[in-house]
Amino acid sequence: MEARRRTWFDDRGLVLAPAPGDAAATPRRLPFLGAAVHYWRTPRALWRRALDELAALGVTLVESYVPWSVHERGPGVHDWRGDRDLGVWLDEVAAAGLVAALRPGPHINAELTGFGFPDRIVRDPDIQARAAHGGPVWLPAPPRAFPVPSYASGKLHDEVAAWFRAVGEVVAPRRWPDGPVVALQVDNEPQLFFRLGAFDHDYHPDALAAWRAATGDDEDAPRAWSPEAAATCARWVRWKDELLAQALARFGRALDAAGLDGLARYGNLPPGEPWFTDLPRLERAVGGPVGLDVYAGGGALDAVRRRALHLAGSTAHLPLVPELGCGFVPYAPPFSDDEQRAVTLALLAGGVRGLSFYMGMCRDRWMGGILDEEARPRPTARWVGRVLAALAELDWTALRRRARVALVLSRADARHGLASSLVDPLPPVAGELLGLGPAGSAELARDPAAALHRRWFDAVARALDLARVPYVIVDEGAALDRLLEHDAIVAPTLHRVDRALWRKLGQVAAARKVVVLGPETPSLDEWGEPLGEDAAVPRRAGFMSPGSLDDTAGLAADLAALAPVEDWYVERPAAVHAAAFADDAGAVRALILVNPGERPVTARLMVPPGTTLRDALGTEALGDGPADPGAIAVALAARDARLFRVEARVGARASTADQKK
């Protein structure tokens, strides 16, 4: 293994080290603005045309899975010929002037039967995950349900290490700067195959041994909710986060051992709410950003923006969307191009600075994408090209949205809610998809705090939006620094709080940041144990009143005091959000407006007088006039978003985000 760093992530994207010995060269910055191409599903004769088309469109990299089941012909026997010739494909990538990110799994999905695991792996009882009922755990993924492997299985990890060695033989010589490979994704959507029900799995013998080692307890892991053993049940839920983190770290070490070290690493989470995965913990395990995959339509713009705010507030690296739906699986209704463009802009509005369109090229078991199956641009290419061109022109990754307020996402109550679910082992994602109510899957929790905490969290988010206070969502597991970046921290609390978070809140209060808690003062930690010597409330903390839960306007009025009024906000209608992005000097360069509503609106946008907005994806220019200085009327279609380049007219005062600091 070499100690040399070839590529890495910073807060703008990828950084590519110069070739060794080139003393004059400096590292090269590369925005992570990619598109997916599955080389093995693309006729070899079309590889170059597809890559050239995508390069012309403005993507900075292409990414592909490297599917285990596609290459393996038997244990230790791999086929890299013809359309499966990854090495030649990578050489074509380099020839097209692009770089590549690879995703060797072991979990692939890609709508492959068995999600990319060879048949012998999913059929091996020693590898199969175990459900609470003792049998294998089946994932109902078309065209055929299959038993999922256990990420605790030592045998699985041995097999994966051998697979990575085979990948290493092809890829290691093509690592940057010797070749185009600049990043590796560690596994794919690691969430126990979407089956996060508390007592669903993993009761594999290796998992149970690890649980006993972690808890020092000789007893078996819990297999059903018990109010008398609530702490153990909640511990089991949290321990599965640790199991995943340990598995990702082990996959990472196997990549290193396969000669694939030195490259930037990243991860991705499946689409969904942030309540059920410990993103900061997974980032530490991966050693790079763990992004969120997004497949959504125009009806989900609020949720999409919220998830982006969580990414932007919680990542220690880069707010990244490794898979941004461009086309969709054929098992659900497709989203239109307009919807997908709006979702892309809503993510950017939340602070996303890296993304990869999935798919760049249409392929088997997929519909849509940027290019069709013959590598010709589809209508989708028009808006994708415009977005990429606009981001390049704006130098998007250098811009920042100033968020004075952090809204803390605490999972202590959600964990108890998951553990006490009345429909366990139904995965929480099913509860969210079914639209059970304001608290999502927590509506079906026996523990009432789960639903109540979620309602408080949403109420605060709504109130901050209404008060036009720019905020991000900071995960309870994020580093203290992420909280200290903000002037004020709002942490909805009931009687239970994560002890480590509580300590951090004490530290940020000691750093003279404003801390708002409530409606209750927590007295118990995440396991239901008394906070004891940690019980002290952070100094000068303010509290939300219980009545604020159903008084969004009143709560908004209270929270508005946390941050001064910015130059850039939508005066009306209330449902439209504006996000202003400024450069290093504080000058606002870009503005995104999002209308999640079902009706077209004309928003009254407040801006510094003398401002001109140019539609970055179109030709329209808008400005305030002498009759109404500092106000611009912006038309927005239903469930739509618009990206504007901001210009100050000659003679107008400079528009800066920090003028009113």
Binding site: T113, D119, V122, R123, A131, A132, H133, G135, P136, V137, W138, P140, P142, P143, R144, A145, F146, P147, F199, D200, A224, G327, F328, P330, P333, P334, S336, C362, R363, D364, R365, W366, M367, G368, D372, E373, L422, V423, D424, P425, L426, L434, G435, L436, G437, P438, A439, E443, L444, R446, A451
Partner: protein, 340 residues
């Protein structure tokens, strides 16, 4: 029935979306409100009652559902909460179902066989841990997999294609299309008209579909396999067939607003039979009103016995299934009628 390596390619999103428009009942498309209750029947307690779907309210007063979960109580609950459906689950039934289903699944099972394992497990608990209003579980048959596969093999020969096209009412475009190819007993390949677009332009096809469909069939034969059944219709025709009396199908065929070409003998027989039966039924209804009740009952019994005899003789194309898909459709089709 479905190959584990099924190829799904040239899927035009617009055409695919068109199928969701045609096949998903309007009541489901509009995301109606529905209710989910978790109950502890031995303790006669509703543990949680949630109003989900459009404008979901989340947990509401459990008193809105009276136990036991009889059809009358479920209907009353639906009215009280103004929801389109009520599903009631015994606490713990999800875990029990998961255990039962997962113990029966095998990696080599067909997707249909896997689905039937779940459906049978659900039906076995209908009224014994799972209740719903409307009672869809009771309506849906869960045949054994083998007869299903054998019926499929009987009706659709290997190395042939099935095609279905829906044309927009203004004939400006194809609203939905699908081409499926059967090989070695399984659907092995699925595409939309995008795979043929270079040979048969979509706009030209839509404009003159009643004759241009023949070019589509030729292109399918060249590109995929000989068509076994190809169905072409305008969107409004499908609505008329769904919403109209049972003989609408025959009338739309006669009027060439619906084209089934090629149509195998079993399908022609089935359609002919259904049409004749529907016309006869209309006439019979008029006549029957003149007859005394006893004679009417005897006539109805005779017709039922004739239908059963036809199935048992093996002459009916769905004889192996143990249920008649057309009869099932007649039961389910009102869910597809536009909501008033």
């Amino acid at each position: 029935m479905l190959s584990r390596e099924v190829a799904l390619h040239h899927l035009e999103p617009r055409h695919w979306a068109g199928w969701f428009d045609v096949l998903v009942p309007p009541a489901v498309r509009s995301r109606p409100r529905w209710a989910l209750a978790i109950v502890d029947t031995p303790a006669a307690r509703v543990l949680k009652l949630v109003v989900a779907g459009h404008d979901a309210r989340g947990a509401v007063d459990p008193a809105a559902l009276a136990l036991p979960p009889t059809p009358a109580h479920l209907q009353a609950c639906a009215r009280r909460l103004d929801v389109g459906a009520v599903i009631v689950l015994e606490v713990g039934v999800v875990a029990a179902l998961a255990a039962e289903v997962e113990r029966q699944l095998e990696p080599d099972q067909d997707a249909a066989a896997q689905g039937l394992v779940l459906l049978r497990a659900l039906k076995a608990r209908s009224g014994k841990g799972v209740w719903s209003e409307p009672p869809l579980l009771d309506l849906l048959p869960a045949p054994a997999y083998e007869p299903l596969q054998r019926t499929f093999d009987l009706l659709v020969p290997d190395d042939t294609a099935l095609a279905a096209y829906v044309i927009a009412d203004d004939r400006s475009r194809v609203a939905a299309s699908v081409i499926a190819v059967k090989r070695r007993g399984d659907i092995a390949e699925v595409a939309t008209h995008a795979a043929l677009a270079a040979d048969v332009g979509e706009a030209a096809l839509a404009r003159d579909w009643a004759t241009a469909y023949k070019r589509v069939n030729r292109a399918i034969a060249d590109r995929f396999a000989r068509p076994c059944v190809s169905v072409f219709a305008e969107r409004a025709t499908i609505d008329r067939i769904i919403g109209g009396p049972p003989d609408t199908l025959g009338r739309e065929l006669n009027a060439r607003r619906l084209v089934i070409d090629p149509a195998p003998a079993w399908l022609l027989g089935l359609l002919g039979g259904a049409t004749v039966a529907a016309v006869a039924q209309r006439g019979a209804l008029a006549l029957a009103s003149l007859l005394p009740q006893g004679a009417r009952d005897r006539a109805a019994g005779l017709a039922d016995r004739a239908r059963t005899a036809m199935k048992e003789s093996g002459a009916h194309p769905f004889a192996l299934l143990g249920f008649d898909p057309l009869e099932l459709w007649l039961t389910l089709r009102h869910y597809y009628r536009p909501r008033r």
